[in-house]
């Protein structure tokens, strides 16, 4: 199936405009990054030079992968069930857009702000650590391999969270239920990131590459699954014929 970029873009533009004017959405997207950056920064600033030794054996930076895992799920979970609740889904489905294009547009509209927020917060975190932490602590924390992992896994994790949340959104009958389930579904990714950050799970370059490949494949599968589960009839009527 060929995707019409103009239709996808129409959905992205519309979604981004709506997000900007939805205060609860903006606040939701701001709170999680704050939680994930302020507390670690305070802890890092309080560390003395002697703490740099143990830090070299951990991947504390990867803790921030919780942001791309959690932030987009909140927004993406709203994408279909939200349209349905506000009565805008039916007019949208009367247009020539295919479900694959519609969902891709919705996913991209969530992905763009989520990735920007995740990268911006990460950059701010690095800048603060570089400027205000003990130099030895900063050099122990900011390791090129962890920075690269953060850069690579941010979009992959965000994409995965988005597709899981969209799948939930296509099947849920209520926005709150969709948001709660999506948050719950993204918790394993967050837990994994934290366990890796704390060195409970040891990772190597190979496992990193394999994990990235798996996530890439899951993103592709997620799009397919979400499209297959997007049942116009059920979404319009509330039940399957």
């Amino acid at each position: 199936m060929t995707v019409n970029p103009r239709l996808v873009r129409a959905v992205v533009d519309k979604e981004l405009r709506e997000f900007r004017r939805n205060r609860s959405m903006v606040v939701g997207m701001a709170i999680i990054p704050l939680i994930f950056s302020v507390q670690p920064l305070v802890t890092v600033f309080a560390l003395s030079s002697s703490a740099s030794g143990p830090l070299r054996h951990e991947h504390v930076l990867l803790y921030m992968l919780g942001i791309p895992a959690l932030v987009p799920s909140l927004v993406a979970s709203y994408s279909v069930v939200g349209e349905r609740e506000q009565g805008t889904l039916e007019p949208l489905l009367t247009t020539p857009i295919r479900r694959e294009e519609l969902l891709l547009g919705k996913a991209l509209a969530t992905f763009i702000p989520a990735a920007i927020v995740a990268y911006a917060v990460f950059a701010l975190f690095l800048a603060c650590v570089g400027l205000f932490a003990q130099p030895s602590v900063a050099s122990a924390l900011i390791r090129p391999s962890d920075v690269i992992a953060q850069l690579v896994f941010t979009p992959l994790l965000a994409g995965w969270s988005i597709w899981v949340a969209i799948v939930i959104s296509t099947r849920a009958n209520d926005i709150r239920v969709a948001q709660q389930l999506s948050t719950l579904a993204s918790l394993p990714s967050v837990a994994l990131a934290i366990l890796i950050a704390l060195n409970v799970i040891d990772v190597s370059l190979l496992t990193g590459v394999v994990a990235a490949a798996v996530l890439l494949a899951l993103n592709r599968i997620g799009w397919r699954v979400a499209s297959a589960l997007f049942d116009r009839e059920r979404l319009i009527l509330g039940t399957k014929a």
């Binding site: 709506e18 939805n22 506000q86 039916e90 489905l93 020539p96 116009r232």
Partner: protein
């Protein structure tokens, strides 16, 4: 299309939709010509909206066939059908945080309308909303939202326009505005499939109407339906009761039967009211009757509707 426009803009042949054991509509067949305004009437739960959704490719029919805007109603044709038609659902379904212009822009892009800006200006002008283009839809009244939804439905210049209860919940002035717009569209040759509860609306706007109550009860021009269902009558009112009405009305050849409806009011069943009325008048004058009025009885579409809607399916 191969250059030849098919004769029907919309047709259905024994089209049915079931939800499990529940029948939404059954064996619906009709044909609607290009440029026709077709009214689809029926009580709540009759299957009107489900029919629109089915013809609009939102729901899959359980059985039967249909063509929409020249294309067979099949999953493969769904996208192309949606490109050629527009549906205005009962609820406007606008993005309330976006402005009127932003709502229309989004849908113009989804329909891939060439020269979208010009087209948006055109449809806004058609619904008399040019000056509200920058207003958030959430700030508009229900009537104005309905007009925005109509503007949205016109963006792709549809061959077939489905209007599902377009005046539902509108005050008389706003409803009048929508009626005027439908009139304008009819003059431009747009085929309109109008579902409504409002029989006066259907009578005023529609070339033909169909009455649905799960199954199609009847289909035809409003005046044709009236003639089919109701005997043609003349109502005679006099100042005082007639002395010998039986003899008087019996002498007029065009009168098939008569009965006294009220004191001094007589209802005559006739073949042709226009031809028989002068004869009846002459007979009354000859009988020195004090005639107050002679008028052909008028049956509204509402009478037709009420007559048909309670009849069990399959009975004439």
């Amino acid at each position: 299309m191969d250059g030849m426009q098919p004769s029907a803009a919309l047709s259905a042949d024994r089209l049915s939709k079931h939800f499990g054991d529940r029948v939404a509509f059954q064996d619906v067949s009709f044909e609607i010509g290009y440029g026709e305004v077709f009214g689809f009437l029926g009580p709540n739960g009759a299957g009107k909206t489900t029919t629109v959704r089915t013809l609009g490719t939102l729901l899959t029919p359980t059985s039967g066939t249909a063509t929409v805007a020249g294309l067979a109603l099949t999953p493969d044709n769904a996208v192309e059908i949606r490109r050629r038609i527009s549906i205005m659902p009962e609820s406007p379904g606008l993005y309330l945080r976006l402005t009127v212009l932003e709502n229309l822009r989004c849908f113009a892009d989804l329909y891939q309308v060439p020269t979208a800006t010009k087209r948006i200006e055109h449809v806004l002008s058609a619904v008399h909303l040019t000056d509200r283009a920058q207003d958030a839809c959430g700030a508009l009244s229900k009537g104005l939202r309905q007009r925005v939804a109509l503007a949205r439905a016109l963006l792709n210049d549809p061959q077939v326009l489905f209007l599902d209860e377009p005046t539902s919940g509108l005050d008389p002035v706003a409803a009048r505005g929508v009626h005027d717009l439908i009139d304008e569209l009819r003059q431009r040759g747009v085929t309109i499939f109008l579902t409504t509860h409002r029989l006066d609306e259907a009578e005023r706007l529609c070339d033909r109407v169909a009455i649905l109550n799960t199954t199609l009860r009847t289909i035809g021009r409003p005046d044709q339906l009236r003639d089919e269902l109701f005997a043609r009558t003349l109502t005679v009112r006099t100042a005082v009761p007639l002395g010998a009405p039986d003899r008087l009305f019996g002498s007029v050849t065009g009168v098939r039967a008569w009965h006294e409806d009220d004191l001094s009011t007589y209802v005559l069943t006739v073949d042709d009211p226009a031809q028989t009325a002068p004869e009846v008048t002459r007979a009354l004058v000859q009988a020195d009757a004090d005639v107050l009025s002679i008028s052909p009885s008028h049956h509204s579409l509402e009478d037709v509707y009420l007559e048909l809607i309670d009849v069990p399916a399959g009975q004439p």
